[in-house]
Symmetry: C2
Subunit: 366 residues, 2 copies
């Protein structure tokens, strides 16, 4: 099949790398001639809301997907009128707006941290009466990798926070002293079959994913079934087709949903080597109408993002068992340039192998 992808970053690159062996061809809409997907896909160069380009994309492919969620919903809705868009516009619309997202979670009985939408300084002041400080002021839109967030420690900082966030529609969200961050990645196919990967433990640094451990260690069966239940409800509610990630906090022993991503997700990169079927292949299976593959883990995986700078490749490859994935991007502090995954059986040598990996990879944040 000919698959269109809106966005040409590393997720598009890894989708194409997973899809070429299945015989699929890829046409990628991106404004960037040097996009990470360029070596493995044909590019359609231009803006995401260019009507002419979107018509071309629709005419030339069998199905369209997207690799990030900050896309013009109206333009994609028009696209979806002439070619199957999977996942659909609804998932995109909801995930673009933190208020919509939280409302969706709440309507499905999925718990979230206390929050209030605010659209003015007055509303922020009111909200701060109800949401205990310290809290986070988050833009409703365009937040990723820790962007679009301002912490508020005390009531005298409300004005300053409102200035810093840019006076745009926001949420004031209770700052949860969470015990752990988890994510769950799952796929739903055209027939409605759902398969769920094991829960993953994630560690962030300044809002950027640094490390994933899969399956997340020492999980109660209660947490596990909560997470599976929540992601199941979401996939059903959205009549979803493809891979979706749900990020959660563990707070006082229970899950609170933080946000969802209607796409393959960084916390699922370990599946490339650590699971029977990678998230990239399962996303493609789903959107092309094929049955899903097994989401079982092979042993334990440790995924480390390469952020801001890259060690020399031979050094990375000298780490026994390291699976290296570079994205072909120019180095820049805070930018995700690649990732490395170790897969092993938990046992005597596993912690030291993980330790070796960690010691070889420095990160550079802005």
């Amino acid at each position: 099949m000919k698959v269109g992808i809106v966005g040409g970053g590393q997720l598009a690159r890894m989708l194409a790398l997973a899809g070429v062996p299945l015989g699929h061809e890829f046409l990628v809409l991106t404004p960037d001639r040097d996009a990470p997907a360029a070596p493995v896909a044909e590019l359609l160069l231009g803006d995401y809301d260019d009507p002419e380009l979107l018509r071309t994309l629709a005419a030339r492919v069998d199905v369209v997907t997207y690799e990030f969620e900050n896309l013009p919903v109206d333009a994609l809705a028009r696209l979806a009128a002439s070619v199957p868009l999977r996942p659909g516009v609804e998932a995109l619309r909801i995930s673009q707006d933190r208020a919509e997202e939280k409302a969706c979670f709440t309507a499905l009985g999925i718990p979230v941290a206390p929050y209030r939408p605010v659209a003015s300084l007055e509303e922020l002041r009111e909200a701060a009466q109800q949401i205990p400080l310290p809290a986070l002021l988050k833009t409703r839109r365009l937040g990723y990798d820790g962007k679009g967030q301002v912490p508020i420690a005390s009531p005298d900082r409300l004005d300053e926070a409102w200035e810093r966030i840019g006076k745009v529609p926001c949420l004031l969200e209770s700052k949860i002293a969470f015990e752990r961050e988890l994510s769950i990645v799952a796929a739903r196919d055209l027939q409605g079959e759902i398969r769920i990967y094991p829960l993953v433990e994630n560690h962030h640094e300044r809002g950027i994913l640094r490390r994933s451990i899969a399956p997340a260690p020492a999980l109660s069966s209660e947490l596990l079934s909560q997470a599976e239940d929540y992601v199941f409800r979401l996939l059903q509610r959205l009549d979803y087709v493809g891979v979706l990630a749900l990020e959660c906090f563990v707070h006082e022993g229970r899950l609170l949903a933080n946000e969802m991503a209607p796409r393959v997700h960084n916390s699922g990169h370990w599946t490339l080597e650590g699971a029977d079927t990678s998230q990239f292949e399962n996303h493609l299976r789903a959107i092309t109408g094929a049955p899903l593959g097994s989401c079982s883990a092979r042993g334990e995986s440790r995924m480390l993002n390469l952020i801001g700078a890259l060690p020399p490749l031979p050094e990375l490859l000298a780490i026994e068992g390291a699976h290296v994935h570079l994205y072909g991007k120019e180095a820049k502090p805070g930018r995700k340039l690649g990732h490395v995954t170790l897969v092993g059986e938990p046992g005597a040598s596993w912690p030291s192998r993980c330790q070796e990996l960690e010691s070889r990879v420095e990160i550079f944040l802005p």
Copy 2:
């Protein structure tokens, strides 16, 4: 690094798919605009001995490799004068000629089936006095997938066989009633380090590889160490850099070398999912000066070639645990169009999973 590949078939395609995640770029010399490598590499369209194209290739890449061995040695020798060619010309030269190959094996103390080079009908008649019939008349050059071979059952068929083979330089080789066909794939890096994959059992139909089972079951430790010893000697003798495959027969409990391939090999495709590091990645690691990765197997693998025709993709993907690799080639009887690999732990369900795979894949031979 920028890697040049001479040849654009499925091996080039899978090399590029393995190399893009390592940040390498690929420039592929092929006469075929629709070559399997086309979706994942830049093509340099033209003939393998076009001096102008070879100069362009040398100027634009850091290292050159090849994905099949029936290439003009002189042209590649000139290429090797201006850019590193890995593996080198010597391996290419020897593997192109069955007589050179057998002589090389013999010089290294690697046993082969009895054979005699023949260049005329008279020589064939003489050879038939020394090589017990039934025997195989094989062209010295350009043999692959069972091509370039004529069986000779009895002395009265010598004239006919000489006609059928085209009166070209040949070997007359004793037709061994072998018990099994095995192959061993190994890699040697720029520093001379060698890593060896587990031995593989292969089943051919009409000279075309149908099935590989890895690791080969029920091997004596003697056979195993013989095979490792032979491939080790070959790699050392050729000062080899990259992946090499050695195909062997088991005859009366001992190994006889049949032929070698100075490249990644069909009987190593199972390593994509079944080994810690795939043969494609290890070939690239070697030729780009990086250290080799582990060749350990993960459980047991069963690789089946898709020959002549393809079942519908959703049917293939419905086989639990099937890893599907299509090559983007037009269907034609006898043509390798893709392969499917199952990886599992030997146990109760493994034989039935293999059986299911086998029952879903028909092959079409000419």
